[in-house]
Symmetry: C2
Subunit: 367 residues, 2 copies
């Protein structure tokens, strides 16, 4: 039996949605989509590197179930998560005659979910949306929460919208075709969930690192389910990121800036891993984070084959961080841990702390 988690969305224009997790659930996608997101036509958006073996197969299964489906491919990778690619996709849907009663299905990783989600959010002022994540990063993190968007030369996800899916179907079997490096990248977000919310889960990940990397079914299902559950709990609390949801950005202030500097050649998860180390070091130096947290973080990241040290040039990253969405009046802010499993609030009770770049640099240099 697949695991079924329900994400409740407490506002009028979006319903709650189910996240279905289980090996083999890919087979059920047509039936589940037809029930959760009835539509006149389905625009199945999938990148060139996922269309085989998953995208085309799913489109065929949809058609075989009598669901009108158009397969639309995109260029893969963060470099194509742009306004141009979004415009091309919306034009293609217009050309196909998709109406407001269509549904967009994203079959791919985090990039595809963000991009196709932004298409769904803005096509005819919003059409329904289904996520079938095929990367671990998308499964444990990006597929839940309704954030959609594209990158610009100024940074990641700076243009976008909140758009809640109607359904998310996660089949860990799909990970069999994922490069190991991408599997590792996804684990960084799972570690983050443990770091900010659940020490026991953090420790469980370290203990099960080998099983997870070996794609053990039971371990993967447990990992994905716990991460989705933790993230959904936060998202339900604060759909539009007015407050506590910001803690999901632990590791991301520095992480996003690193990605921008690397022109997105650095996988998101690797940047976040380095970002978490940097931000743990920063927290310890500021006396906010329990001593030894950075070392513990480094241990689990190393076990997963992720960067376990930070080489960031913080002052050099400052300009990139200024446009981070957590910034206030142009001053970057950062999420700091209290200890593993818990986030520290700042003196004003905020979930983020103003970043002191000089102190940050000293912390990183010593990390």
């Amino acid at each position: 039996m697949p695991t079924r988690l329900h994400v409740d969305v407490p506002h009028a224009h979006a319903r709650g949605y189910d996240v279905i997790i289980g090996s083999g659930t890919l087979e059920d996608v047509p039936a589940r989509v037809a029930a959760a997101a009835p539509a006149a036509v389905y625009a199945l958006i999938t990148p060139d590197d996922v269309v085989e073996p998953w995208g085309r197969r799913l489109a065929a299964a949809m058609l075989a179930s009598g669901l009108p489906t158009e397969l639309i491919t995109t260029q893969p990778g963060e470099a194509h998560k742009t306004r141009d690619e979004w415009a091309r996709l919306t034009d293609r849907m217009l050309e196909l005659g998709c109406g407001r009663d269509c549904c967009v299905i994203a079959v791919g990783g985090g990039v595809t979910g963000d991009l196709a989600g932004f298409v769904a959010a803005t096509y005819m002022r919003g059409v329904s949306f289904v996520q079938v994540p095929t990367s671990l990063l998308a499964m444990v993190d990006a597929c839940v929460g309704g954030k959609t968007g594209v990158d610009t030369a100024y940074g990641k996800n700076l243009i976008g919208a909140f758009h809640t899916p109607r359904l998310v179907v996660i089949d860990p079997h799909v990970l069999s075709t994922l490069p190991l490096r991408e599997l590792r990248a996804g684990l960084a977000e799972a570690v983050k969930h443990g770091a900010i919310l659940d020490e026991a889960y953090f420790d469980w990940i370290e203990a099960h690192a080998d099983a997870i990397l070996a794609l053990d079914d039971a371990a993967l299902e447990q990992l994905i389910a716990r991460s989705v559950e933790l993230k959904a709990g936060i998202v339900m609390d604060d759909v539009f990121e007015h407050g506590r949801r910001a803690i999901l950005n632990f590791g991301h202030t520095v992480g996003h800036a690193l990605e921008l500097r690397a022109a997105y050649a650095l996988p998101h998860g690797f940047a976040v891993a380095e970002g978490m180390i940097a931000e743990a070091a920063l927290g310890e130096r500021a006396g906010v984070t329990e001593a030894g947290t950075q070392a513990r973080m480094a241990r689990v990241l190393a076990a997963l084959g992720l960067p376990a040290s930070a080489s960031a040039d913080i002052t050099g990253l400052l300009e990139s961080m200024r446009l981070d969405k957590k910034s206030r009046a142009g001053r970057p802010r950062v999420v700091l841990l209290e200890r593993v499993g818990s986030v520290a609030r700042d003196a004003d009770g905020a979930w983020t702390h103003e970043l002191n770049a000089e102190a940050a640099q000293h912390a990183i240099d010593g990390a």
Copy 2:
């Protein structure tokens, strides 16, 4: 004393907002904006043909009140309500370092409101938004309801989002610089409000046509206030256009197709006037609309100097109408009146009726 109308928005992530209507209220914009939409910086977006005399003056007043304000100009006209112009505006804001704590102020007509609203809806996944409409069309119609968007080669407003403003300030004095043709265009939407919802208002417009066209303060304030009130009533009922809100599209199925065919050289209000005549003729021929409605519609439109007959080639417009957002499974739908002041529901209780193109053509040919 200006009129203050409150638009309630019954969902969690947007608050209700005030619409302030009164001659001279432009002077109060900085104080009202500071109270309703506090922000680290204001991006005041205004087209090249409104920057003098209104946009620059308002930006100066904001700065004089100690509110950090960036004046950003756009190319005027529907031809520039595009994804490209939207991308340019968002880039400009990124370049200026605007954060998620900024606020976009649209100072201009309907095009500016739609375009700047889409910027606000998508900049960092949504920032706050204020409307200062300077055309009658924007005052009586576009500024209320939260619809934002851009056009594509396939049609109007096909890409966009719902994004609720924090405040709308309407100063009818601004209309003194509006070309008469644009004033007339705005009146088409007011006539529409009467036609679908309020027979007494419909008659009042006809009786006061001369005073309105002469820019009589009292007549304009009354006109704008009643239109805003009628529209707000509908919008509050159905923010995301799942049902009754569709009646605001009376005249628009044919109207949008006419605009598209004319490559937007035809002002929206003129297209809507012709569309209302066509759709009234269509309704009468279908036996849905009370006989004589088309003639009554023609009389008030003529009094306002608007098109009072329809020359539409409906079958030729069919392809354009197929992508109309009211379409279902690619079949265009149209709002039909029962009589002046009331909309007819179709056999299934829907607010729109499937368009029978051939019957439509016969109706128009006889109109």
